[in-house]
């Protein structure tokens, strides 16, 4: 199963050949979501056996990339699942770091900043500064509030307004 990534592996992860590790990781998350059991977008498209085979193919492709790029110690699917669970269980506290919280959710959805930007019409650089909580570089609170709500909605988060309020509270605290 392991060995070097094959041309089919790029297809399986839905990324163009030569994509960066980050893009491959995003592709991996996206494909796992797309072909996963609870996915609306592929509901009834495959028989269960074929779906399992597809998911196994996605895992195998991801493993070969990880091995080839030395990104992770050639995780098997249980290790990948464990790593993801760990990531899930250590989601940052939205009150302490709302930006990191947004970033963690975006990565879990396998969305790039550009994809979020395409939906929200907020510039990717601004989204990036929101995630990094670079408070001194952000526009006035009234804009930030709207941005955070849009961003959180795009990620399908519960209570975008609450998150925006926490973000603005942090922003206001940081100002002289």
């Amino acid at each position: 199963m392991s060995g070097l990534p094959t041309p089919r592996d790029w297809e399986v992860l839905g990324v163009p050949p030569g994509a960066s590790l980050d893009e491959i990781r995003c592709g991996y998350y996206r494909q796992r979501d797309l072909w996963g059991e609870g996915s609306l977008a592929t509901y009834s498209l495959l028989e269960e056996g074929d779906r399992a085979a597809r998911l196994a193919e996605i895992e195998a492709a991801w493993r070969r990339f990880c091995a080839a790029l030395g990104a992770a110690p050639a995780p098997d699917s249980s290790a990948v699942a464990a790593a993801l669970e760990a990531e899930e269980s250590t989601l940052p506290d939205p009150a302490a770091s709302p930006g990191v919280f947004l970033r963690a959710h975006r990565l879990r959805r396998g969305m790039s900043l550009e994809q979020v930007a395409a939906v929200t019409k907020i510039h990717p650089a601004t989204l990036d500064r929101l995630e990094r909580e670079e408070l001194h570089t952000l526009p006035p609170a009234v804009y930030v509030r709207g941005f955070v709500i849009q961003f959180a909605r795009t990620l399908g988060l519960d209570d975008p307004e609450g998150l925006a309020a926490r973000f603005v509270a942090r922003l206001e605290k940081s100002l002289p």
Binding site: L40, T42, Y43, L45, L46, D50, A53, T154, L155
Partner: protein, 316 residues
């Protein structure tokens, strides 16, 4: 009809044929079809809506018209000679309607010859665009109208039942299209042989079928590939309410490209818009009565994306 038959057919360019289907009833196909017609007419094109919905033709109602006195049944029973004679003006400039209600309801299962006559006549309609509302289901009649179109729109709503019916519809359409390849008997035999032995041949998804046929019967494989390349359904997700549903159409198109190996695309989605229900109450197309509503803007965007795709070399 005067004014519609002045140019002889060979001087005219055949209209661009659109079909609106998608398997499930109640997802907004007819509303989409009616407003698609309005959008094209508002661009300054001439358009004819043809109501080919077997189950419940009601485009006339959506357009606020009384039931037209004559319909497709008059054409099929040869009381009128051409579809053009049936096309009645609507309240929208440039948009005409061919009602199908009584025709196809009377006719539980229109014969192959009937479908062929309708499709031949559709190509002769003096218009820039013809839009067929093919109705719900995936029966051969519905599929044949859909497959005849240059642009086949599959309307979906973000619900599992709709996604399921849409995939059933796309799968049925794909296989019906492949079975049109010539020579038919040979194509059928080769396809059957391959599907029966798909496990041994490692044919795991429809996309693996044509490469396998090309390996064993190159000529049949090429014929199948030509058909598959002409199968380019367009998925439009209607009534999107939440941000995470916005990607559904793209995701479905990408899953279809992967699964069937053919060029399924998604030109956009249409959000849920309360003004739409209001327009249906008013019995006027939303694009006419609320031209700047979210629905109208989204639908125009979808049309723009599809037509620019046609200009840069869509299906021929």
């Amino acid at each position: 009809m005067p004014g519609m038959t002045e140019r002889s057919p060979d001087e005219r360019q055949a209209p661009t044929l659109w079909a609106v289907g998608g398997g499930k009833g109640g997802v907004g196909k007819s509303v989409f079809a009616a407003n698609l017609g309005v959008a094209l007419a508002q661009q300054g094109s001439s358009a004819v809506l043809v109501d080919a919905d077997l189950g419940g033709a009601n485009l006339h109602t959506l357009l606020g018209m009384p039931h037209p006195p004559s319909s497709l049944s008059d054409f099929l029973e040869r009381r009128v000679g051409t579809l053009a004679e049936l096309a009645v003006p609507t309240s929208v400039d440039g948009l005409r309607l061919v009602s199908g209600a009584r025709a196809l309801l009377d006719m539980a299962n229109p014969k192959y010859a009937h479908k062929e006559r309708i499709l031949r006549q559709v190509a002769e309609l003096p218009a820039d665009h013809v839009i067929l509302d093919v109705g719900s289901g995936s029966s051969f009649n519905v599929l044949d109208f859909f497959l005849a179109a240059r642009v086949g729109v599959v309307v979906v709503v973000p619900e599992a039942t709709s996604v399921e019916n849409a995939y059933h519809f796309i799968r049925a359409g794909y296989f019906r299209r492949l079975r049109r390849a010539e020579p038919r008997a040979r194509v059928r035999a080769v396809m059957e042989e391959i599907l029966e032995t798909r496990r041994e041949r490692e044919v795991r998804a429809p996309r693996d079928i044509i490469p396998e046929v090309e390996r064993v019967e190159p000529e049949i494989g090429r014929a199948l590939r030509r058909e598959a390349e002409g199968f380019r359904p367009v998925i439009v997700v209607n009534r999107v309410e939440r941000a995470e549903q916005e990607r559904l159409g793209e995701d479905m198109a990408s899953a279809c490209r992967d699964h069937f190996g053919c060029a399924v695309t998604c030109p956009g989605f249409i959000g849920h818009d309360p003004l739409l229900a209001r327009s249906v109450e008013l019995r006027r197309p939303a694009l006419d009565v609320f031209p700047e509503s979210p629905f109208a803007r989204a639908l125009r965007d979808v049309v723009r994306v599809v037509t620019s795709g046609l200009a840069t070399g869509g299906r021929s």
